[in-house]
Amino acid sequence: MKFYKKAILGMPFDWMFAIIVGAFILFLAIYFTVNFIQTSEIRQNTETAAIIKSYLDPFETGLASGKSSNVSFRKETRTIMSCNALRNPPFGEQTIRFSDKNLKESFGNEGEAVPIKDKYIFSEEIIQGKNWYVFSIPFFMPFKVSDIIIISSENYCFYNTPEEIEEEIKRLQLININMTNDKKCAGVSVCFYPTSQESNCSIKVNTNSKTVDKDNKKVYYEGNLVYGAIFSSPEIYECNVKRLMNKAAELSMVYNDKIILLERVGCGSTIKGDLTNLINNIKNFDSSAKLKSISALSENIDEQNEAVKPDCKVY
């Protein structure tokens, strides 16, 4: 009686059916669980990036001349910063992606990129560590353009620091910067020189030509941008300087209209032409090398604005 013979595996059909379908269900369950964990990780990291974005709001200095703070994370974190001056014209935008170490002690899936359009964050492209050192400082060209926010996670050794930078660092109480002459100082070495010099420093600042050599690239600075040039990658620096210049052009247009409005109360201003020149110069701005000419023009505007009676100042 062939009919009563069991199947090849010696198992009735209903058992085989249950095992195959059970295995399929189990596979689906594991697949969805793994996916769910990954999605949750991405979601959590995106939320953290959004919270970081909100956290940076109080760093707008307002009337203060600078603010600083330290941020400590429970776990080692990695934040990927990027900048695009062409997206969201004319202001450009930065994005921030966050991830932290998971149970396997490796960095998990990064969250989605969170865009930041109203801030100028100068940092390395990857900020990694348990502690963040954040400070903000205003940038003028010649009026206040915006605050620049500097984020770093490393320690720095400043050699031969100029007096004004030393005072600023002390005032802001930046604990990750050691101003020293001790060559054993542990951290990224930053050397200030009045002339070009060969040295083993990671970052070389020429205070005379206002240039910073970093990662075999040279960037130019004016005013407080020196901090941005030291603490950020040359790519992020150039992008943010372009964004800042675009904002200076927008503000120049606002001030040009304000001059027209001030004429109704008899306040005349001679800076209208120079503000228009500033806007035109910024249109051709493609690298920090052009900062010098813009700075010269802005000094001229500032002198004229200071010369008018106090009630008629444009800014």
Binding site: G22, G62, K117, D118, G266, D311
Partner: protein, 180 residues
Amino acid sequence: MENQKNKMIKKSQIKIQEMAFMLVAVFIFFSLVLLFGFSVSYQNIIENANRINEERTLSAITNLANSPEFSCTGSRDNCVDADKVAAILNKQNYEKFWPYSSLEIIKINVVNKTEKELISCTFANYPNCDNFLIYKKNVENERTISSFVALCRKDLLNGAVYEKCEIAKFIAGTELEEVK
């Protein structure tokens, strides 16, 4: 014998059908549980996004008056330069800069005027107006947060330039995502 064989075939078929139905039911049950889990999780994402956006608007609006686009000449805290605001009314670009869905400044010393009677400011009618609508994105669901500021402008008194200040409300809107 043939009868017994048919009986066994029928019994086996019923068993397989029972198991198939059971497995399909279990599958559907877990799918529904997963679907429910995802919908709860999705709702949480939207709630968290709204909370973060609102918190951001609240923390940012206090600093907005001191930003270069609004701050008064001579560095005074919480003071908005009305001349600058009137100039900004022409600039559409700022809509892409600030993270708010709307931005408006309303003078609050406009007594005996309903909201509809307020005169909207333009570059042409300034300063004879009441509210500055800097921009308004057409969003479906918005929550506004306001802060009081001093709204100052240059004016003339007996031929001399002086600064005239009024109290105003700085209103910023946040777009809220709806849970559908």
